[in-house]
């Protein structure tokens, strides 16, 4: 271990002490978590040589505690290696107040309600059938292009109708921002920052989702969702106030998802559309991403699966800043994944998959990976 960086070391130590030291008249809560070890092998790309090796996935801890009849708290923090050491990230911290069976209000940091995957699966690889998330749904600190986290308030209601259940969710929170050396001598991709410690301006981001679960087809879900946000992009290579130092993108992301989870079938598909209106640009730019995944559980343990991922990104200020487009060129990328998952038991699984990547930037690349994931 080269270096240990504790972004939230104090909080972790305090939490550990709380868990270890018995407190009089207090009920200790249980720390649970997820982990995984993955062996990856990849062909040469335009920027990387042939490679293979073992990698530790994020070590993910979470605690859930019922504070009172109506109030519960969920905290999730991750120890992960961004490349040069380990960091501790607070991924979620949400307090939930239940207003009866059908209405909940939450405050804190949570996953953005866009799409199905981002709310259903978090950092624990054991939870999803495949080894990894769809590449365009990676988290912000892993080159993701979707605002996967939001800090603010989240209202959720559901209604049972004769046709099925309707869920409505609305989030209001800090808008994302991007800050980094975008045009200087050390220029590179910058991270989408969800604003855990505050907003970069006075405009708040809003996400909403309408979801329908038909009673005539148990296991099916259909959702439509959208996100309005003003993304401030700061190029630290330029002098404060210089042209290009601060660029604002009025962003609207919308999409639909279709899910079917029944009769041993796992099918999920999502589409994302970006409409980015960049300050000073002559017109809006549009980009689209989608994936479809199909798996089938054979017996009680084995699930073969296939997934297709697609991204057609327009080279605008937003996609340039996060590094998805480079050199002013649009980017088309597809990933086809074929794999199999074997559940050792309900807490542990082995997965193996092959990926065929076709990318305008990196070219055609074949990859293979094997993963052992677990929950504890």
């Amino acid at each position: 271990m080269k270096k240990l960086t504790w972004r939230l070391g104090g909080a972790l130590i305090a939490l550990s002490l709380y868990l270890v030291l018995p407190a009089p008249d207090a009920q200790a809560f249980k720390l649970n978590g997820f982990g995984d070890v993955t062996f990856d092998a990849s062909e040469r790309t335009s920027s990387e040589p042939d490679s293979n090796g073992f990698a530790l996935g994020a070590l993910d801890f979470y605690v859930a505690e019922q504070i009172s009849d109506r109030l519960d708290v969920l905290a999730e923090f991750v120890i992960e290696s961004p490349g040069d050491g380990f960091v501790v990230d607070l991924e979620r911290l949400q307090a939930t107040y239940s207003l009866g069976n059908n209405h909940k209000v939450r405050a804190g940091r949570f996953h953005n309600l866009l799409g199905y995957w981002n709310l259903a699966f978090h950092h624990g690889a054991q939870l999803h059938t495949t080894i990894s998330r769809p590449f365009f749904l990676e988290f912000e600190d892993e080159s993701g292009v979707v605002p996967t986290h939001m800090i603010g308030l989240w209202w959720n209601s559901r209604m049972n109708t004769g046709m099925g259940r309707v869920n409505i969710g609305i989030m209001v929170g800090n808008g994302s921002s991007i800050k980094g050396d975008l045009t200087g001598s050390n220029a590179g991709p910058a991270e989408l920052n969800p604003g855990s410690s505050g907003d970069s301006d006075r405009d708040k981001a809003i996400s909403a989702k309408l979801n329908f679960e038909p009673s005539f087809m148990r296991g099916a879900e259909l959702g439509i969702y959208g996100n309005f946000s003003r993304v401030n992009i700061t190029d630290t290579a330029l002098a404060v106030g210089a042209p290009g130092y601060l660029t604002t993108v009025e962003q609207f992301i919308w999409g639909v998802d279709v899910v079917y989870l029944a009769h041993n079938i796992e099918f999920m598909s999502e589409v994302y559309n970006w409409i980015n209106d960049t300050q000073g640009a002559t017109k809006e730019s549009g980009s689209v991403a989608a994936y479809g995944q199909l798996g089938y559980l054979i017996g009680e343990r084995t699930t073969p699966y296939i997934r297709y991922e697609y991204l057609d990104a327009t080279a605008d200020a937003y996609f340039n800043a996060v590094g998805m487009t480079v050199g002013g060129l649009d980017r088309l990328k597809t990933v086809t994944t074929v794999g199999v998952r074997y559940d050792i038991n309900y807490r542990s699984a082995l997965k193996a998959e092959y990926r065929a990547i076709d990318d305008q930037v990196d070219g055609a690349v074949n990859q293979g990976a094997v993963q052992w994931s677990f929950a504890f």
Partner: protein
């Protein structure tokens, strides 16, 4: 003496493990719970965490320790899932939404005691355990 003890222990074990299967399964609630009867669908929603309140009363479901025959029988007959599927469901649910799974009792007597301690208490027991028990009310019966 040793042989007699073994026979006695074995007999009690067989009696205990088969009781859950041979008897009707009865769902009981705290006598002050604001419900008179429940449907199988309502019970399912309670044990899946989908329904958490009866009006203003917080529902406190009680199940049994992993591996208990009564727990497996209930999950199979009422929720139509295996114990592993049920445990996986709760891992995912807690991680996604927070909340808490049903409490786990070590025995039927423990479960009945826990139900009497909360006005929203609910559990399931063999029918033979209901007769004479105080502080509870039967709200659902599933014949064997």
């Amino acid at each position: 003496m040793v042989k007699q003890t073994l026979v006695l222990v074995l007999g009690m074990w067989l009696l205990g493990t088969t009781a859950a299967w041979a008897d009707d399964l009865v769902v009981v609630v705290n006598e002050n719970a604001p419900v008179q009867n429940l449907t199988a669908e309502e019970i399912k929603n309670i044990y899946l965490g989908e329904k958490g309140f009866w009006g203003n009363t917080k529902i406190s479901p009680v199940g049994y320790q992993d591996g208990a025959a009564l727990q497996a029988s209930f999950l199979d007959r009422v929720l139509s899932v295996s114990e592993n599927v049920y445990k996986t469901y709760w891992i995912k649910r807690i991680f996604r939404e927070g909340g808490m799974p049903p409490d786990k009792a070590g025995s039927v007597d423990d479960a009945l005691r826990m139900v009497t301690q909360h006005s929203g208490g609910i559990t399931f027991v063999p029918a033979s355990k209901v007769a004479g028990a105080s502080g509870i009310r039967e709200v659902y019966r599933m014949p064997n």
